[in-house]
Symmetry: C2
Subunit: 342 residues, 2 copies
């Protein structure tokens, strides 16, 4: 791939600007179509050579829509992808914007250590016009590697993790502080949390906010790490219920683990919410289908996915969108939270 001085890929617009013509004149010239004079055609082809732009490489974007596909690589096991409502809703939201642009989503499940290669390959072979980067880790190696190849991308995660990329994020710190303040306000003094994987950036942000808010309010607080699965969520919940200082309320980092905890509470003969309050995160339809229904931090994930996709279109069109937070998750109290002993 050839590139301009800035390090980004040379586009037909650069060639047009350099030759002092419109992009459509470049299209006519490189395809040998009538409509440009021989002198103009020569100037355009010279500009293309000088910038190192190859009409063959760009043939597909010249001959049709500029944006045909965007890429999304997810480092989760395939089995989990089908059971995790977050990704289903997120992908559906992305597709809602893509389908308006007759654009496809190129989806790949990867091992985390393979993801950089996948984006390089997609971008190098013009399989994608840009990518969405998710599950950002602290000091994520994808950021410098993909910035270097000039991949247009949007990072889903806190701007502190996003390097030079535009990011769209959820203000998890503010939302988590609200969750803890709510539990304290209705009378809980010992709270716990079952988190997602510790290496994920948003797990760290939530853990810090959970711990700091609980400390400021004088609550006893603990976090047990799990991996979003029903299995590990259930195990984490059991370990908390078996501990000496049993919490009266537990916050979960997704909904699957909170739903599983309903079953664990039943195993222990605990009534929800009288003996144990449960608070889920993300509020998929799952939370409304259980008995009792699950209180949750609601986050419109479909709208979030649509926002991320729209931002990527802005990046790909070089409209330089700014990083921005999506709507802050808001507490939706339902049947699984109440004062302890209520």
């Amino acid at each position: 791939m050839s590139r301009a001085d800035s390090g980004r890929k040379v586009t037909i617009k650069d060639v047009a600007r350099h030759a002092g013509v419109s992009p459509s004149a470049v299209t006519l010239a490189v395809h040998g179509k009538p409509g440009v004079s021989t002198a103009t055609k020569d100037r355009i082809l010279r500009a293309a050579r000088e910038l190192g732009w190859s009409p063959n490489q760009a043939a597909q974007s010249l001959s049709g829509r500029a944006v045909h596909s965007v890429g999304l690589a997810i480092a989760r096991p395939a089995r989990m992808l089908g059971r995790e409502p977050f990704y289903m809703e997120f992908i559906a939201g992305i597709e809602s914007v893509l389908s308006e642009h007759s654009c496809s989503l190129l989806l790949r499940l990867v091992e985390p250590e393979r993801e950089i290669d996948v984006h390089r390959e997609w971008w190098g072979a013009n399989r994608v016009n840009g990518s969405i980067l998710v599950d950002l880790r602290v000091d994520d190696p994808r950021i410098p590697a993909l910035a270097e190849i000039g991949l247009p991308a949007v990072v889903v995660g806190d701007p502190s993790l996003a390097g030079p990329f535009t990011s769209v994020w959820t203000d998890d710190a503010t939302a988590m502080a609200e969750a803890v303040r709510y539990l304290a306000a209705i009378g809980h003094r010992s709270v716990a949390r079952v988190s997602g994987p510790a290496e994920l950036g948003h797990s760290v942000i939530r853990t810090d906010a959970f711990t700091a808010t609980a400390r400021a309010l004088g609550l006893s607080a603990r976090t047990v790490v799990a991996d979003f699965s029903a299995d590990q969520g259930g195990r984490a919940c059991r370990s908390l219920l078996l501990s000496g200082d049993r919490p009266t309320a537990i916050v979960f980092d997704n909904d699957i683990m909170a739903v599983t905890a309903l079953g664990v509470a039943a195993e222990f003969g605990l009534s929800v919410p009288a003996d144990l309050s449960l608070l889920a995160w993300d509020d998929s339809q799952l939370c409304q289908l259980t008995r009792p229904t699950l209180s949750a931090m609601r986050h419109d994930i479909f709208a979030f996915g649509a926002d991320v996709a729209q931002t990527l279109f802005d990046v790909m069109a070089e409209r330089q969108p700014s990083s921005h937070a999506a709507q802050i998750p808001a507490l939706v109290p339902r049947g699984s939270t109440a004062a302890p002993g209520a």
Copy 2:
């Protein structure tokens, strides 16, 4: 796209066979690399011309891995994609096989009338090496149109709907007959069904089997058409419960509608299963999270998606796999079915 006499696309193998050389000799010849004599090179290039095969068109598959992406177009609203466990499990199963082959899934939500163009465009621009066709309709226009362009594809649906394509299907007729016989065996005499869209091939097959089996057993039976959504499923369920001859058992074509029916039964003050038995289809984890749990026709959708993807790899490698049925959905009785009045 050029094609051999059979109507399928000409491949490098055809050129090699025609010239009496190996495919790798064709690769060397068209790239002007050393390793083939001038006479052999001339013979290869003549063979390519005679068959109408263009090395440029095939450049990407010559220069790298043969299979980089497979396509899946789904004609459902984006909002529903995120809420329908079937598709996410199915996609996850497909991805489980694709990731072994370092292959990506190109996913597009389309209007039904646009789907043929999407596959044509993907195939023509070498964005996919093959496609998976789902939600087959009766006399589906995709079948002749995509057979004509020589797209390697696997049809998810009954072989009677698949034309010349290899199909992988679920024997819905046998499964539905089992469901109805089970309800009759535990004492139900008036059964109903809430189906998916009437134009889908598998809706027709299930409706026919439901009606025929109920008639053979002397049961009263009705089908109300819905669209898989919670809204329409709930509405269909209410209409059945308001009718004069209220059914004592209802079979649903997916799980979302059955879960919704639990809420509708509660609205009507009906106890499940004593007053009303509910039987879901597909048995996602949703069915195990409700109270009572939902009896379901279990179908391992993840394994089904994996089977479809593996079959497509066999088609793309010209191993000519035969059409075959996936495992027949099996009844998993849980808390939502019992004898009427039990």
